[in-house]
Subunit: 344 residues, 3 copies
């Protein structure tokens, strides 16, 4: 099984020295000290976990230089910074679990007019790259994903299974698309004529900046004209809906099941927690934080934390929510006052 | 690049006359006057945009007959109705971006028992048409989409990538299914027997009327028996959930992330705004309008605008929401009255 | 057409005796007595439906032994328990609509290192089984679905079209995955370093217990380490989001469009109604019931019905909601009292 590390491979990867343990012992998982089993690698990142370390069942632990004692059956590797070294191991496992395999799988379909280097791009089984598409080196196109006509995908992107990118959309470098994500579906626009909703053609595109991530089964609509933009470094969670002509700035976080209506905008470094909604044509400024289930219906100033529907500053909303729970008591008081004040 | 128009092609398409400009100049995009660049076509639809017109960088502008002056580098085409002419250009671009290519791609799978005319239907790479399915002429089945056993799809439908239509469902003419849409998943039904949830088989179907559109990654469950119905001309946005045995009338609008529970019903011309929910077995009558995040738990009369959870007439809900924000002040008043009235 | 039963086949399937009707008459659907047409089978499960029975247009009806009279054109089959017999017929139709076809379709891709018995597993057109995956006998892998590297799928599972299971996830026996479901997408986790969100690798897995069902386009994130767990017999509806490291117990119901944030937990036999949300690291105990749109932000005791955001015991929430609707009247009273009490 490729998904395993021997102790000596681990030491090399962690840039550390084996204190104790058999060179050929091998490990297939990672876990915290108190959850680890003999097949797992763990780490002692902080003195306060010393007791957990002494009781761990981990097969191997990355420890700070100087530590040489530990549970009898646990191998030890001394490193300069156990947390950083462990992160490197995690990254190795993550990559090993799904190795990059350059080349076009025979069951994939790549249109002859598409531009990609078959020795530097991975096109997985059943994937489809349509006419005129361009795919950068180091990009991995997952099984049964579809790259539409004239789409441009940058370098070192990771596109998982069953992703759809519609025609002419533009994807930056190092973008990650989780399974089932849809990029470039039509915006929702109709004109009401003679009792019927006539479709307004949506001929714009979606542009995803560098280092963007889009969650599983999220949907990003193309613009009517021009483009829907997800700025560099912005991370979007699962089942999020982004409407047409939305513009999201750089390094935002948009959490699961949130929806942004057409032409709404986020500045930079905005956080939108789960199940929130932003109305059409509304702007939320830099570094605003929206709590879960916030409903935004007007422009919001940046640097403030909001909650509620419609959105209010956090403390105002909390105070009102607390008072709603106090309403039965307030009604009682009111009745008592009315009685005392004489019937009216 | 196919996705471009020369000025003379543009004039023909817009049914207009070239006032000014080189016949061979070509244009690859469309934009509003104030956003256009030299590669874009734009239009002067209304006198009030005259100033924008005079300052535009558009490469070509559709103008009303009689206009002959404009920015130096901008070509002009005189037409009877610039808005309508522009809509025709947009439609041309939309179609050109993803041309209809009749035929069955070699990587697609069409069961020999399926009924379709390979010269009039487009089955894109990796698409699958299962046994007994029927597909009408002019229909485009997107890459890696799946048409289940005995499904019937009408004429001139546009099915994008990675769509799933399960067995026996029926799709009308000119239906549009955005990427990842699921038609005919099982309704959610279990019987609780001896501590376990036993599945209630769902053997009905989904029926989509003519001119229906279903958004990206939306899910329409099949009926237990009989059918879940989406009426003619109804447009459903992205990430919408429609439960089993739901019946939606004609020409409704159901916006993103809304959910309709089993056996709920909408009349005709109902609008349901984003992130709303309709409980099971409830009916919303003709021309009702539900604002965003409305929660419907009882039958609602038609022709009224509702808001809130549970749904109330719009003004009632707004008044109450305003009073909730006033609760801190009300509590203060109440305390003052209690003090004055003597301790109780 | 395979999807039809003759009267004699129906009698055998229902374990009953033909009272009346032609042996060769055939039926292609099922319906309730009052909705049935001549092509449908129906049943008389309860004396109180006698009037409906006498007026039905059903082609054939399963009746209790002893009943010999009915509408002139309706065939009758006498059985011991009409409800159970009808359920058997429904199950037959459900299976017939999409027959199990063992074998690997030529357009599917199965990596040579995958372990499955091609004579006992069905791999539908365009499906992909990646390296190291294991698939149990009797399992049906739908068209264009993707089984990732080293995934383990149990026996007799039903995986519909366009499903994605990412690397190393584990699926129990008799699991049903509706179209578009995503199992094992990355958890949403980033570290904020130097103005950028750095991805925290997600190297855990998802484990689905026996008899689990996951709805269409729902998404289940893999754990950072360890595993996200959906317990035996739990049924998850469409468009549900389950975050990383969530642990759901046995026999829970999680209804459409609900979201559970990272590391939240449900006990056994918990019901979460539609469009609810559970915050991260929160626990909901055994047999709790959350009404639609409940928002859970703290641990909740089991065996109680909750509603509201934040969640409260059902009656408390209802009382407060009623009082919110009474706020205009309360304000009026308060104003009257203030007037009487003298200006303050």
């Amino acid at each position: 099984m490729a998904f395993a590390l021997t102790l000596s491979e681990l030491a090399r990867l962690a840039d550390g020295d084996i204190v104790r343990g058999g060179l050929d012992s091998s490990y297939t998982g990672m876990a915290a000290l108190d959850a680890a089993t003999p097949g797992d690698i763990s780490f002692l990142g902080n003195e306060k976990y010393k007791a957990q370390f002494l009781a761990t069942f981990a097969g191997a632990v990355l420890v700070p230089r100087g530590v040489s004692q530990g549970p009898d059956t646990t191998a030890l590797i001394a490193v300069d910074n156990p947390s950083l070294a462990f992160a490197a191991v995690v990254r190795h496992f993550a990559a090993a679990a799904r190795p990059f395999v350059p080349g076009i799988h025979p069951s994939a379909t790549v249109d002859p007019s598409a531009k990609l280097d078959p020795e530097k791009v991975s096109v997985r089984p059943g994937a489809v790259v349509m006419a005129g598409a361009v795919v950068g080196d180091g990009t991995d196109i997952g099984p049964n994903s579809v790259i539409g006509e004239d789409v441009v995908v940058g370098r070192d992107c990771l596109i998982y299974a069953n992703v759809s990118i519609r025609e002419r959309c533009v994807v930056g470098d190092r973008v990650i698309l989780q399974p089932g994500a849809v990029i470039g579906s039509d915006g929702y626009g109709y004109e009401f004529v003679n009792g019927r909703h006539l479709k307004i053609d949506q001929v714009g595109i979606v542009e995803l900046g560098d280092d963007v991530e889009i969650g599983a089964n999220s949907t990003i609509d193309r613009a009517r004209f021009g483009k829907t933009v997800i700025g560099e470094g912005t991370k979007i969670d699962n089942l999020v809906q982004i409407g047409h002509n939305v513009v999201i700035g750089k390094h935002c976080l948009v959490i699961a099941q949130t929806g942004m209506a057409g032409s709404s905008r986020l500045g930079n470094y905005v956080t939108v927690a789960a199940q929130s909604g932003v109305a059409g044509h509304v702007m939320v400024d830099d570094k605003a934080i929206l709590g879960s289930r916030t409903g935004v219906t007007t422009n919001l100033k940046g640097g403030v934390t909001y909650l509620g529907n419609p959105a209010q500053p956090f403390m105002d909303e909390q105070k009102q929510k607390a008072l709603v729970r106090r309403l039965p008591k307030m009604l009682e008081d009111l009745k008592a006052l009315k009685k005392r004040g004489g019937g009216f």
